[in-house]
Symmetry: C2
Subunit: 344 residues, 2 copies
């Protein structure tokens, strides 16, 4: 930058080196086209002036915006984990010499125009999708138009394969493992609180099936109830139905940290002690998990690995590599002290 804070221009470099602007552009974008003497003269001018090639000049030449687009979700419940994810993703993108462009768009089909415009105006080169929902319209739409993307999350298509590369955390395995460890700690009535059909997301069904499989494997019959909204209040209401049972559960696996906190509030409201009378687990390891009294046992997602894998898949998805499933790690805290040797 010059002392006046002005960016050194390509024109100034050309003048300094006594060549045309096209020549300078070639030196930067296609040096193989330039004879060695001119190459040296221009490079020396670039260094002397401290010229940094304008991203826009390079992008016109290479037809690359150097930007990857990411759509911010509007849902408050997700924001607890997604901000950690956003940070990891931004860093992973920057590692490849690009930048993150953040945008907002309506959910579903309405939002597709926004994606279309960003590509048509060559504002971004590719997208990272998240907050995926069942039968998400974006994946097929983008894939059909040859737009590069990678998805954090599966879309659980009813038929065929999910279009485009994806990364996800194995919620099934994590919830099955939670059941196994709760059983090992002595629990025999292990319930599940999930998202109801109105807010149904494939990730929720995946975790539910893991809980189911864990129970079945151990000969347990557990009850599953559903929160009518992605909220603490909805989960508290659902937990009330469980705890009203003549034979209530002694452990409750909740589909997310947010719902787990709602379950905990209902447990406490009845004068029951989390981690003693009723054990409760969540999913995400968000800041909520350390904010509740005693801490919330939950599943931690490998955020950095998710982010770097997504960026890698945008550039280098192998021909047979469409999906990468990563493992979540159980973090035991006060709401379900799984790491203590305890018989009930």
């Amino acid at each position: 930058m010059t002392e006046r804070g002005q960016a050194v221009t390509l024109r100034q470099v050309a003048a300094h080196a006594g060549v045309s602007r096209q020549t300078v552009s070639n030196v930067i974008n296609a040096p193989q086209r330039v004879d060695p003497v001119t190459l040296a003269k221009v490079r020396s001018a670039i260094e002397a002036l401290g010229y940094q090639p304008s991203r826009t000049a390079r992008s016109l030449a290479t037809r690359q915006a150097g930007l990857i687009g990411y759509c911010l979700a509007g849902l408050p419940g997700h924001s607890l984990y997604m901000d950690q994810f956003l940070h990891a993703l931004t860093e992973a993108v920057e590692e490849t010499g690009r930048h993150m462009l953040l945008f907002t768009a309506p959910d579903g089909d309405q939002g597709l125009t926004t994606y279309a415009n960003l590509i048509a105006q060559r504002t971004v080169d590719a997208f990272i999708l998240s907050d995926t929902v069942d039968e998400d319209p974006r994946h097929e739409w983008l894939a059909g138009r040859g737009v590069r993307f990678a998805s954090f999350g599966r879309t659980w298509p009813r038929q065929g394969e999910q279009p485009g590369p994806w990364v996800d955390v194995d919620g099934f395995a994590a919830c099955a493992e939670l059941v196994t460890r709760l059983h090992a700690a002595g629990h025999r009535r292990i319930a599940f609180v999930g998202w109801g059909k109105r807010v149904m997301m494939g990730a929720g069904a995946d975790r539910l099936r893991g809980w189911e499989a864990g129970c079945r494997r151990l000969g347990l019959s557990g009850r599953a109830v559903y929160s009518d909204s992605d909220s603490m209040d909805g989960a508290a209401h659902a937990a009330a139905a469980l705890l009203d049972d003549p034979e209530p559960p002694t452990a409750i696996v909740a589909v997310s940290d947010l719902l787990a906190v709602g379950v905990l509030s209902e447990v406490r409201r009845r004068g029951l002690r989390p981690g003693h009378d009723v054990w409760v687990t969540g999913f995400d390891d968000s800041l909520l998990a350390t904010s509740v009294e005693g801490g919330l046992t939950t599943v931690r997602q490998p955020t950095a690995e998710i982010a770097s894998t997504l960026v890698r898949l945008i550039d280098n998805a192998g021909p047979a590599e469409t999906g990468v499933l990563l493992t979540g790690r159980i973090v035991a805290r006060g709401s379900a002290p799984l790491d203590q040797l305890q018989q009930r």
Copy 2:
């Protein structure tokens, strides 16, 4: 977009209209230079082909990237509020026909290079700063180089005025009002838990001074203690010092929701009841505030107004308009039921 998902190019429009590419570029960027007949012919070609001007072509002509840069903070405590802010900011930027570019940078002087490169490479036109700290190096550095920016937050310079336009929430007034309302509810010993010198931020000092002024005005003498870290545990530790007093406070004003949750955990650990034995207030109205049992009384920041004001200031800061101070609104919940008519 063509059916193959390829963006229609400027070259295709030129060919379709039978003119040079420069002419098409002029029609888009400088229509006043083009004769009416040609103007009509090219515009009609643009419409027929569905051409959307490449952001990069326009930005070369106008020397505008069309992007505003925002740096993600690495601090987990802030993320609870900042994600709401990020969403509002992205929307406010999009309202002006631009997009948000997200980036990461080290704190302090080390990060300045990142800002410099983004400007030098013309990747962004301006910055929105947040997570401002005392004597923040960025404001003066950017202002000195003529880079446009607006700051969410004050930097509390020891001398002179803060460089560049800023928006902030009046923490002083909010905390003074909290004291006034706690006093009206019957409290006479109202303490403060703030950030210690190691994590001192001007916003914290501003809120502390508001609490101080509120107490002084009502003839109260209150005790202030400091958390040694921006964390719940640090706040719990600080609250312990208050509650160990022979005459402990009956109300505690915490500098943020995160610290308030730490204070609450210490209150409960001693078997005391929040909102009964000890009243506790926070600041931010983050998701934490609704996640604790009974809810946390706190100060809500006018997020949408902050965001739109920041964007406006980047483009249109009036000559005398350097700072905009907005009012926070107290939201009363279970931890300090200020809206109930109650005498202690």
